[in-house]
Protein backbone atom coordinates (compact mmCIF):
# COMPACT_ATOMS: atom_id res chain seq x y z
CA UNK A 1 0.00 0.00 0.00
CA UNK A 2 1.40 3.37 -0.95
CA UNK A 3 2.50 5.81 1.70
CA UNK A 4 0.26 8.40 0.06
CA UNK A 5 -2.86 6.20 0.48
CA UNK A 6 -2.04 5.67 4.14
CA UNK A 7 -1.60 9.41 4.63
CA UNK A 8 -5.05 10.02 3.15
CA UNK A 9 -6.58 7.43 5.47
CA UNK A 10 -4.89 8.98 8.50
CA UNK A 11 -6.20 12.40 7.48
CA UNK A 12 -9.73 10.96 7.31
CA UNK A 13 -9.33 9.01 10.55
CA UNK A 14 -8.36 12.22 12.32
CA UNK A 15 -11.75 13.52 11.13
CA UNK A 16 -13.42 10.45 12.70
CA UNK A 17 -13.97 8.55 9.45
CA UNK A 18 -14.65 4.95 10.46
CA UNK A 19 -14.40 3.65 6.88
CA UNK A 20 -10.84 4.95 6.57
CA UNK A 21 -10.05 3.39 9.94
CA UNK A 22 -11.37 0.03 8.72
CA UNK A 23 -9.28 0.28 5.55
CA UNK A 24 -6.12 1.04 7.50
CA UNK A 25 -6.91 -1.83 9.86
CA UNK A 26 -7.43 -4.33 7.05
CA UNK A 27 -4.24 -3.16 5.38
CA UNK A 28 -1.92 -3.33 8.38
CA UNK A 29 -3.47 -5.89 10.76
CA UNK A 30 -1.86 -9.06 9.34
CA UNK A 31 1.64 -7.57 9.20
CA UNK A 32 1.36 -6.15 12.72
CA UNK A 33 0.16 -9.51 14.07
CA UNK A 34 3.17 -11.19 12.46
CA UNK A 35 5.36 -8.56 14.05
CA UNK A 36 3.86 -9.01 17.54
CA UNK A 37 4.00 -12.79 17.13
CA UNK A 38 7.77 -12.64 16.86
CA UNK A 39 7.84 -11.37 20.44
CA UNK A 40 4.95 -13.16 22.17
CA UNK A 41 4.87 -16.40 20.11
CA UNK A 42 1.12 -16.79 20.48
CA UNK A 43 -1.28 -15.90 17.73
CA UNK A 44 -4.17 -15.02 20.06
CA UNK A 45 -2.04 -12.74 22.24
CA UNK A 46 -0.50 -11.08 19.19
CA UNK A 47 -4.01 -10.46 17.84
CA UNK A 48 -5.17 -8.95 21.16
CA UNK A 49 -2.17 -6.65 21.27
CA UNK A 50 -2.73 -5.34 17.75
CA UNK A 51 -6.48 -4.91 18.29
CA UNK A 52 -5.88 -2.94 21.48
CA UNK A 53 -3.33 -0.80 19.64
CA UNK A 54 -5.92 0.08 17.02
CA UNK A 55 -8.52 0.90 19.69
CA UNK A 56 -5.96 3.26 21.24
CA UNK A 57 -5.25 4.75 17.81
CA UNK A 58 -8.95 5.51 17.36
CA UNK A 59 -9.19 7.08 20.79
CA UNK A 60 -6.31 9.41 19.90
CA UNK A 61 -7.52 10.08 16.37
CA UNK A 62 -7.89 13.81 16.91
CA UNK A 63 -4.21 14.12 17.76
CA UNK A 64 -3.03 12.26 14.66
CA UNK A 65 -0.75 14.12 12.33
CA UNK A 66 -0.96 12.83 8.74
CA UNK A 67 2.57 14.11 8.15
CA UNK A 68 3.94 11.71 10.76
CA UNK A 69 4.32 8.05 9.90
CA UNK A 70 1.37 6.17 11.34
CA UNK A 71 3.20 2.93 10.57
CA UNK A 72 6.07 3.96 12.81
CA UNK A 73 3.53 4.85 15.52
CA UNK A 74 1.70 1.51 15.23
CA UNK A 75 4.85 -0.63 15.12
CA UNK A 76 6.23 1.21 18.11
CA UNK A 77 3.02 0.78 20.09
CA UNK A 78 2.79 -2.92 19.20
CA UNK A 79 6.44 -3.44 20.11
CA UNK A 80 6.00 -1.71 23.48
CA UNK A 81 2.86 -3.67 24.28
CA UNK A 82 4.57 -6.92 23.27
CA UNK A 83 7.59 -6.18 25.45
CA UNK A 84 5.29 -5.23 28.35
CA UNK A 85 3.43 -8.47 27.88
CA UNK A 86 6.68 -10.42 28.00
CA UNK A 87 7.80 -8.51 31.07
CA UNK A 88 4.55 -9.22 32.90
CA UNK A 89 4.37 -12.84 31.82
CA UNK A 90 8.03 -13.71 32.04
CA UNK A 91 7.31 -16.57 34.44
CA UNK A 92 5.12 -18.30 31.93
CA UNK A 93 6.85 -20.49 29.40
CA UNK A 94 5.78 -18.24 26.58
CA UNK A 95 8.49 -19.17 24.15
CA UNK A 96 8.64 -22.81 25.06
CA UNK A 97 5.11 -23.98 24.44
CA UNK A 98 4.71 -26.44 21.65
CA UNK A 99 3.28 -24.42 18.83
CA UNK A 100 0.76 -26.02 16.55
CA UNK A 101 2.54 -25.99 13.24
CA UNK A 102 -0.74 -25.97 11.30
CA UNK A 103 -1.21 -22.32 12.21
CA UNK A 104 1.83 -21.42 10.16
CA UNK A 105 1.81 -20.43 6.57
CA UNK A 106 3.88 -22.81 4.59
CA UNK A 107 6.23 -20.56 2.71
CA UNK A 108 7.26 -23.52 0.61
CA UNK A 109 8.45 -22.91 -2.86
CA UNK A 110 5.96 -24.48 -5.26
CA UNK A 111 8.84 -24.80 -7.66
CA UNK A 112 10.89 -27.78 -6.41
CA UNK A 113 13.97 -26.50 -8.10
CA UNK A 114 17.61 -26.50 -6.89
CA UNK A 115 18.77 -26.39 -3.34
CA UNK A 116 17.23 -22.95 -2.91
CA UNK A 117 14.54 -24.33 -0.57
CA UNK A 118 17.23 -25.56 1.71
CA UNK A 119 19.04 -22.26 1.52
CA UNK A 120 15.80 -20.43 2.41
CA UNK A 121 15.37 -22.60 5.49
CA UNK A 122 18.93 -21.88 6.50
CA UNK A 123 18.49 -18.18 5.87
CA UNK A 124 15.42 -18.16 8.15
CA UNK A 125 17.46 -19.84 10.85
CA UNK A 126 20.31 -17.39 10.43
CA UNK A 127 17.93 -14.44 10.72
CA UNK A 128 16.46 -15.92 13.91
CA UNK A 129 19.99 -16.39 15.25
CA UNK A 130 20.95 -12.73 14.82
CA UNK A 131 21.52 -10.71 17.99
CA UNK A 132 18.11 -9.40 19.13
CA UNK A 133 18.50 -5.73 18.20
CA UNK A 134 20.08 -6.55 14.84
CA UNK A 135 17.27 -8.95 14.06
CA UNK A 136 14.62 -6.37 14.99
CA UNK A 137 16.16 -3.67 12.81
CA UNK A 138 16.77 -6.05 9.92
CA UNK A 139 13.25 -7.51 9.97
CA UNK A 140 11.60 -4.09 10.27
CA UNK A 141 13.55 -2.99 7.23
CA UNK A 142 13.27 -6.15 5.13
CA UNK A 143 9.87 -7.59 6.02
CA UNK A 144 7.89 -4.63 7.30
CA UNK A 145 9.26 -2.19 4.73
CA UNK A 146 9.93 0.61 7.21
CA UNK A 147 12.56 3.22 6.39
CA UNK A 148 15.39 3.94 8.80
CA UNK A 149 13.74 6.97 10.39
CA UNK A 150 10.63 4.89 11.08
CA UNK A 151 12.68 2.03 12.51
CA UNK A 152 14.55 4.50 14.66
CA UNK A 153 11.35 5.74 16.27
CA UNK A 154 9.98 2.20 16.65
CA UNK A 155 13.13 1.02 18.42
CA UNK A 156 13.69 4.34 20.19
CA UNK A 157 17.28 4.68 18.98
CA UNK A 158 18.96 7.04 16.50
CA UNK A 159 18.78 6.39 12.74
CA UNK A 160 22.54 5.94 12.86
CA UNK A 161 22.20 3.07 15.30
CA UNK A 162 19.55 1.52 13.07
CA UNK A 163 21.95 1.74 10.16
CA UNK A 164 24.70 0.09 12.19
CA UNK A 165 22.38 -2.73 13.27
CA UNK A 166 21.34 -3.45 9.70
CA UNK A 167 24.90 -3.32 8.37
CA UNK A 168 26.02 -5.67 11.12
CA UNK A 169 23.11 -8.02 10.42
CA UNK A 170 23.91 -8.14 6.71
CA UNK A 171 27.58 -8.85 7.52
CA UNK A 172 26.54 -11.69 9.80
CA UNK A 173 24.25 -13.21 7.19
CA UNK A 174 26.81 -12.81 4.42
CA UNK A 175 29.53 -14.51 6.48
CA UNK A 176 27.29 -17.49 7.12
CA UNK A 177 26.32 -17.59 3.48
CA UNK A 178 29.97 -17.62 2.38
CA UNK A 179 30.69 -20.43 4.79
CA UNK A 180 27.71 -22.34 3.47
CA UNK A 181 28.83 -21.93 -0.18
CA UNK A 182 32.30 -23.16 0.74
CA UNK A 183 30.84 -26.28 2.35
CA UNK A 184 28.68 -26.99 -0.69
CA UNK A 185 31.72 -26.70 -2.95
CA UNK A 186 33.83 -29.00 -0.80
CA UNK A 187 31.12 -31.62 -0.88
CA UNK A 188 30.88 -31.16 -4.64
CA UNK A 189 34.54 -32.10 -5.21
CA UNK A 190 34.36 -35.35 -3.27
Amino acid sequence: MSAEQIRIWVQKISESDRKAFDSLFRCLYPRLVHFAFKYVHRKAIAGDIVQNTFVALWQKREDLDPQQSVKAYLYQAVRNRSLNYLRDHSKETVGLESVDSSQFESVENTNPQEESDHLMDLLKEWICDLPERQREAFELSRFEGLDHDEIASVMEVSPNTVNNHIVAALKHLRDRYELYKKEINEVGYD
Binding site: Y29, G47, Q51, Y85, M120, K124, R174
Partner: protein, 317 residues
Protein backbone atom coordinates in the same frame (compact mmCIF):
# COMPACT_ATOMS: atom_id res chain seq x y z
CA UNK B 1 19.41 10.58 21.42
CA UNK B 2 17.71 11.18 18.15
CA UNK B 3 18.72 14.41 16.53
CA UNK B 4 15.70 15.30 14.48
CA UNK B 5 17.35 18.18 12.64
CA UNK B 6 20.05 15.95 11.23
CA UNK B 7 18.72 14.11 8.23
CA UNK B 8 20.82 11.04 7.98
CA UNK B 9 18.26 8.45 7.04
CA UNK B 10 19.92 5.92 4.79
CA UNK B 11 18.10 4.12 2.07
CA UNK B 12 18.81 0.60 0.88
CA UNK B 13 21.43 1.74 -1.61
CA UNK B 14 23.30 3.71 1.04
CA UNK B 15 23.52 0.53 3.07
CA UNK B 16 25.36 -1.25 0.29
CA UNK B 17 27.74 1.69 -0.12
CA UNK B 18 29.04 0.94 3.34
CA UNK B 19 30.56 -2.38 2.30
CA UNK B 20 33.88 -2.90 0.58
CA UNK B 21 33.79 -3.65 -3.15
CA UNK B 22 34.42 -7.37 -2.75
CA UNK B 23 31.76 -7.69 -0.03
CA UNK B 24 29.06 -5.73 -1.80
CA UNK B 25 27.86 -8.36 -4.26
CA UNK B 26 27.48 -10.98 -1.53
CA UNK B 27 25.61 -8.63 0.76
CA UNK B 28 23.31 -7.59 -2.05
CA UNK B 29 22.63 -11.24 -2.84
CA UNK B 30 21.73 -11.93 0.78
CA UNK B 31 19.44 -8.91 0.83
CA UNK B 32 17.62 -10.11 -2.29
CA UNK B 33 17.34 -13.71 -1.13
CA UNK B 34 16.13 -12.80 2.32
CA UNK B 35 12.98 -11.25 0.85
CA UNK B 36 11.46 -14.75 0.94
CA UNK B 37 13.07 -15.87 4.15
CA UNK B 38 10.80 -14.47 6.78
CA UNK B 39 10.81 -16.74 9.84
CA UNK B 40 7.52 -18.63 10.31
CA UNK B 41 4.53 -16.49 11.27
CA UNK B 42 0.90 -17.41 11.92
CA UNK B 43 -1.51 -17.47 9.03
CA UNK B 44 -4.02 -14.61 9.15
CA UNK B 45 -7.10 -15.25 7.04
CA UNK B 46 -9.57 -12.64 5.79
CA UNK B 47 -11.99 -14.05 8.34
CA UNK B 48 -9.43 -13.45 11.11
CA UNK B 49 -9.14 -9.84 9.97
CA UNK B 50 -12.89 -9.27 9.90
CA UNK B 51 -13.37 -10.89 13.32
CA UNK B 52 -10.57 -8.79 14.74
CA UNK B 53 -12.08 -5.65 13.22
CA UNK B 54 -15.48 -6.35 14.74
CA UNK B 55 -13.82 -6.91 18.13
CA UNK B 56 -12.10 -3.55 17.74
CA UNK B 57 -15.44 -1.92 16.82
CA UNK B 58 -17.13 -3.33 19.89
CA UNK B 59 -14.37 -1.98 22.14
CA UNK B 60 -14.49 1.40 20.46
CA UNK B 61 -18.26 1.58 20.81
CA UNK B 62 -17.89 0.88 24.49
CA UNK B 63 -15.20 3.58 24.58
CA UNK B 64 -13.20 1.49 26.95
CA UNK B 65 -10.08 -0.50 26.35
CA UNK B 66 -9.92 -4.10 27.41
CA UNK B 67 -6.26 -4.41 27.95
CA UNK B 68 -3.99 -6.16 30.45
CA UNK B 69 -2.79 -2.72 31.42
CA UNK B 70 -6.16 -1.04 31.78
CA UNK B 71 -5.76 -0.89 35.54
CA UNK B 72 -3.23 1.88 35.19
CA UNK B 73 -5.34 3.73 32.67
CA UNK B 74 -8.62 3.48 34.49
CA UNK B 75 -7.26 5.75 37.20
CA UNK B 76 -7.57 8.60 34.73
CA UNK B 77 -11.32 8.10 34.84
CA UNK B 78 -11.39 8.77 38.53
CA UNK B 79 -13.39 11.97 38.19
CA UNK B 80 -15.73 10.72 35.50
CA UNK B 81 -19.38 11.69 35.66
CA UNK B 82 -20.26 8.40 37.26
CA UNK B 83 -18.10 9.17 40.26
CA UNK B 84 -19.47 12.66 40.50
CA UNK B 85 -22.99 11.28 40.28
CA UNK B 86 -22.20 8.68 42.89
CA UNK B 87 -20.76 11.32 45.20
CA UNK B 88 -23.93 13.40 44.81
CA UNK B 89 -26.09 10.40 45.55
CA UNK B 90 -23.99 9.65 48.60
CA UNK B 91 -24.34 13.22 49.86
CA UNK B 92 -28.07 13.22 49.35
CA UNK B 93 -28.62 10.21 51.47
CA UNK B 94 -25.58 10.63 53.66
CA UNK B 95 -25.82 8.55 56.70
CA UNK B 96 -28.13 6.08 55.11
CA UNK B 97 -26.11 3.00 55.77
CA UNK B 98 -28.51 1.34 53.47
CA UNK B 99 -26.07 1.58 50.62
CA UNK B 100 -23.53 -0.38 52.53
CA UNK B 101 -25.75 -3.31 53.25
CA UNK B 102 -24.84 -5.75 50.51
CA UNK B 103 -27.52 -7.49 48.56
CA UNK B 104 -27.18 -11.23 48.94
CA UNK B 105 -28.59 -14.07 46.92
CA UNK B 106 -28.26 -17.56 48.33
CA UNK B 107 -29.31 -20.73 46.60
CA UNK B 108 -30.48 -23.50 48.91
CA UNK B 109 -28.93 -26.91 48.74
CA UNK B 110 -30.47 -29.18 46.18
CA UNK B 111 -31.40 -26.32 43.86
CA UNK B 112 -29.96 -24.51 40.89
CA UNK B 113 -31.10 -20.93 40.27
CA UNK B 114 -30.68 -18.24 37.68
CA UNK B 115 -30.71 -14.55 38.63
CA UNK B 116 -30.56 -11.36 36.60
CA UNK B 117 -28.36 -8.58 37.95
CA UNK B 118 -29.23 -4.86 37.78
CA UNK B 119 -27.00 -4.44 34.71
CA UNK B 120 -28.82 -7.18 32.81
CA UNK B 121 -26.10 -9.80 33.25
CA UNK B 122 -27.30 -13.22 34.32
CA UNK B 123 -25.80 -15.59 36.85
CA UNK B 124 -26.66 -19.25 37.11
CA UNK B 125 -25.90 -20.46 40.61
CA UNK B 126 -25.13 -24.02 41.57
CA UNK B 127 -26.59 -25.52 44.77
CA UNK B 128 -25.60 -23.84 48.05
CA UNK B 129 -23.83 -20.98 46.25
CA UNK B 130 -24.02 -17.34 47.28
CA UNK B 131 -23.40 -14.03 45.54
CA UNK B 132 -23.19 -10.61 47.12
CA UNK B 133 -23.06 -7.13 45.63
CA UNK B 134 -23.57 -3.65 46.98
CA UNK B 135 -26.38 -1.24 46.13
CA UNK B 136 -24.18 0.82 43.86
CA UNK B 137 -23.82 -2.13 41.52
CA UNK B 138 -24.27 -0.85 37.96
CA UNK B 139 -24.00 2.75 39.21
CA UNK B 140 -20.35 3.06 40.16
CA UNK B 141 -19.14 -0.48 39.81
CA UNK B 142 -19.93 -3.99 38.79
CA UNK B 143 -18.30 -5.84 41.67
CA UNK B 144 -19.71 -9.10 42.87
CA UNK B 145 -18.55 -11.65 45.43
CA UNK B 146 -19.04 -15.36 44.90
CA UNK B 147 -18.90 -18.28 47.27
CA UNK B 148 -19.60 -21.42 45.29
CA UNK B 149 -19.99 -22.14 41.63
CA UNK B 150 -21.66 -19.94 39.05
CA UNK B 151 -21.91 -19.47 35.33
CA UNK B 152 -21.88 -15.81 34.30
CA UNK B 153 -23.23 -14.23 31.16
CA UNK B 154 -21.99 -10.70 31.44
CA UNK B 155 -23.59 -7.92 29.44
CA UNK B 156 -21.03 -5.68 27.79
CA UNK B 157 -20.89 -2.48 29.79
CA UNK B 158 -18.70 0.48 30.56
CA UNK B 159 -17.63 -0.78 33.96
CA UNK B 160 -15.49 -3.83 34.25
CA UNK B 161 -17.38 -6.71 35.76
CA UNK B 162 -15.29 -8.07 38.63
CA UNK B 163 -15.94 -11.30 40.48
CA UNK B 164 -14.18 -11.83 43.80
CA UNK B 165 -13.94 -15.48 44.80
CA UNK B 166 -11.65 -16.40 47.69
CA UNK B 167 -8.30 -14.82 46.75
CA UNK B 168 -9.12 -14.75 43.04
CA UNK B 169 -10.33 -11.82 40.97
CA UNK B 170 -11.96 -12.31 37.59
CA UNK B 171 -12.31 -9.23 35.45
CA UNK B 172 -14.20 -8.87 32.18
CA UNK B 173 -16.15 -6.45 30.01
CA UNK B 174 -18.71 -8.82 28.54
CA UNK B 175 -18.40 -12.57 28.11
CA UNK B 176 -19.54 -15.97 29.36
CA UNK B 177 -17.55 -17.91 31.93
CA UNK B 178 -17.76 -20.35 34.82
CA UNK B 179 -16.23 -19.79 38.26
CA UNK B 180 -15.88 -22.54 40.84
CA UNK B 181 -14.63 -21.36 44.24
CA UNK B 182 -16.00 -22.64 47.56
CA UNK B 183 -15.05 -20.99 50.85
CA UNK B 184 -15.23 -24.33 52.62
CA UNK B 185 -12.77 -25.95 50.23
CA UNK B 186 -9.84 -23.56 50.60
CA UNK B 187 -7.37 -26.22 49.54
CA UNK B 188 -9.13 -26.51 46.17
CA UNK B 189 -8.05 -23.81 43.70
CA UNK B 190 -10.55 -21.37 42.27
CA UNK B 191 -11.19 -22.50 38.71
CA UNK B 192 -12.23 -20.14 35.93
CA UNK B 193 -13.33 -21.44 32.54
CA UNK B 194 -14.33 -19.25 29.62
CA UNK B 195 -16.91 -20.18 27.01
CA UNK B 196 -17.05 -16.86 25.14
CA UNK B 197 -14.94 -13.70 24.96
CA UNK B 198 -11.88 -13.24 27.14
CA UNK B 199 -11.41 -12.97 30.88
CA UNK B 200 -8.65 -11.66 33.12
CA UNK B 201 -7.87 -13.71 36.22
CA UNK B 202 -5.54 -12.45 38.92
CA UNK B 203 -4.90 -12.81 42.66
CA UNK B 204 -6.59 -10.18 44.86
CA UNK B 205 -4.46 -7.02 44.91
CA UNK B 206 -2.16 -8.21 42.14
CA UNK B 207 -3.85 -7.10 38.90
CA UNK B 208 -0.49 -7.05 37.16
CA UNK B 209 -0.23 -10.81 37.57
CA UNK B 210 -3.29 -11.43 35.46
CA UNK B 211 -3.58 -14.13 32.84
CA UNK B 212 -5.99 -13.85 29.93
CA UNK B 213 -8.28 -16.83 29.50
CA UNK B 214 -9.74 -17.47 26.06
CA UNK B 215 -12.77 -19.62 25.17
CA UNK B 216 -12.39 -23.31 25.91
CA UNK B 217 -9.62 -22.77 28.43
CA UNK B 218 -9.36 -23.07 32.19
CA UNK B 219 -7.00 -21.35 34.58
CA UNK B 220 -6.88 -21.94 38.32
CA UNK B 221 -5.58 -20.07 41.32
CA UNK B 222 -5.09 -21.43 44.82
CA UNK B 223 -4.72 -19.44 48.01
CA UNK B 224 -0.93 -19.62 48.10
CA UNK B 225 -0.31 -18.70 44.46
CA UNK B 226 0.80 -15.27 43.29
CA UNK B 227 -0.14 -15.96 39.72
CA UNK B 228 -2.86 -18.09 38.11
CA UNK B 229 -1.86 -21.18 36.14
CA UNK B 230 -1.35 -21.00 32.39
CA UNK B 231 -4.76 -21.44 30.76
CA UNK B 232 -5.23 -24.98 29.45
CA UNK B 233 -7.83 -26.36 27.05
CA UNK B 234 -10.66 -28.13 28.86
CA UNK B 235 -13.93 -29.82 27.96
CA UNK B 236 -16.62 -27.17 28.36
CA UNK B 237 -19.32 -29.83 28.69
CA UNK B 238 -17.56 -31.19 31.75
CA UNK B 239 -17.21 -27.78 33.38
CA UNK B 240 -20.73 -26.50 32.74
CA UNK B 241 -22.50 -29.87 33.01
CA UNK B 242 -23.91 -28.86 36.41
CA UNK B 243 -26.18 -26.37 34.65
CA UNK B 244 -27.97 -29.36 33.14
CA UNK B 245 -28.09 -31.20 36.46
CA UNK B 246 -25.23 -33.46 35.50
CA UNK B 247 -22.79 -34.68 38.10
CA UNK B 248 -19.30 -34.84 36.67
CA UNK B 249 -16.27 -35.80 38.70
CA UNK B 250 -13.02 -35.82 36.85
CA UNK B 251 -10.29 -37.26 39.01
CA UNK B 252 -11.56 -35.44 42.08
CA UNK B 253 -10.79 -36.28 45.70
CA UNK B 254 -13.57 -38.01 47.61
CA UNK B 255 -13.88 -35.12 50.06
CA UNK B 256 -14.65 -32.76 47.17
CA UNK B 257 -17.09 -35.24 45.69
CA UNK B 258 -18.91 -35.69 49.00
CA UNK B 259 -19.15 -31.91 49.45
CA UNK B 260 -20.66 -31.70 46.00
CA UNK B 261 -23.19 -34.44 46.82
CA UNK B 262 -24.12 -32.70 50.08
CA UNK B 263 -24.88 -29.51 48.21
CA UNK B 264 -26.65 -31.13 45.33
CA UNK B 265 -28.86 -33.41 47.40
CA UNK B 266 -29.17 -31.29 50.54
CA UNK B 267 -27.83 -33.96 52.80
CA UNK B 268 -24.87 -34.62 55.10
CA UNK B 269 -22.26 -37.22 54.39
CA UNK B 270 -20.02 -38.15 57.28
CA UNK B 271 -16.74 -39.53 55.95
CA UNK B 272 -15.43 -41.65 58.82
CA UNK B 273 -12.73 -43.38 56.80
CA UNK B 274 -10.54 -40.25 56.81
CA UNK B 275 -7.63 -41.96 55.09
CA UNK B 276 -9.52 -42.17 51.79
CA UNK B 277 -10.53 -38.47 51.75
CA UNK B 278 -7.87 -37.66 49.18
CA UNK B 279 -8.40 -40.68 46.96
CA UNK B 280 -9.65 -39.58 43.59
CA UNK B 281 -12.49 -40.81 41.41
CA UNK B 282 -13.87 -40.16 37.96
CA UNK B 283 -17.63 -40.52 37.53
CA UNK B 284 -20.45 -39.15 35.42
CA UNK B 285 -24.21 -39.01 36.09
CA UNK B 286 -26.60 -37.47 33.63
CA UNK B 287 -29.43 -36.48 35.98
CA UNK B 288 -29.10 -38.44 39.20
CA UNK B 289 -32.33 -38.54 41.19
CA UNK B 290 -31.11 -39.78 44.54
CA UNK B 291 -27.88 -39.64 46.44
CA UNK B 292 -28.18 -43.25 47.58
CA UNK B 293 -27.47 -44.71 44.15
CA UNK B 294 -24.46 -42.43 43.65
CA UNK B 295 -23.08 -43.33 47.07
CA UNK B 296 -23.59 -47.01 46.34
CA UNK B 297 -21.45 -46.78 43.20
CA UNK B 298 -18.70 -44.80 44.90
CA UNK B 299 -18.54 -47.15 47.85
CA UNK B 300 -18.44 -50.21 45.64
CA UNK B 301 -15.54 -48.81 43.61
CA UNK B 302 -13.59 -47.66 46.64
CA UNK B 303 -14.34 -50.69 48.84
CA UNK B 304 -16.30 -48.62 51.38
CA UNK B 305 -19.58 -49.12 53.28
CA UNK B 306 -22.34 -46.61 53.90
CA UNK B 307 -25.45 -46.42 56.00
CA UNK B 308 -28.24 -43.92 56.64
CA UNK B 309 -28.19 -41.62 59.65
CA UNK B 310 -30.75 -39.19 61.02
CA UNK B 311 -29.56 -36.34 58.78
CA UNK B 312 -27.86 -38.15 55.95
CA UNK B 313 -25.26 -40.82 55.57
CA UNK B 314 -22.06 -42.11 57.09
CA UNK B 315 -19.33 -43.65 55.00
CA UNK B 316 -16.88 -46.06 56.60
CA UNK B 317 -14.58 -48.97 55.85
Amino acid sequence: MTDKTRHNSKSETDIFEQFSDDERAGVREIWEKSANAEPPTPKITDLDIENALSTVHSYIDNTRLEDPYFHKKSKKNFLSWKWVAAAAVLLLIAGAGYLYIPKTITVPRGEITSVTLPDGSTVELNSDSKIEYNRLFDITNRHITLNGEAFFEVKRGEDHFIVSANNARVEVLGTKFNVRSWHNEPEQPTEVTVTEGAVHLYPAGLPDSSVIIHPGNLSSLSANMHKPTDPQPVSLGRITGWRNHRLIFNNQPLRVIFNELERRFNTTIQLEAKDVANETLTAFYNNPQNVGSVLKDICRIKGLQFSKTAHGYRVYK
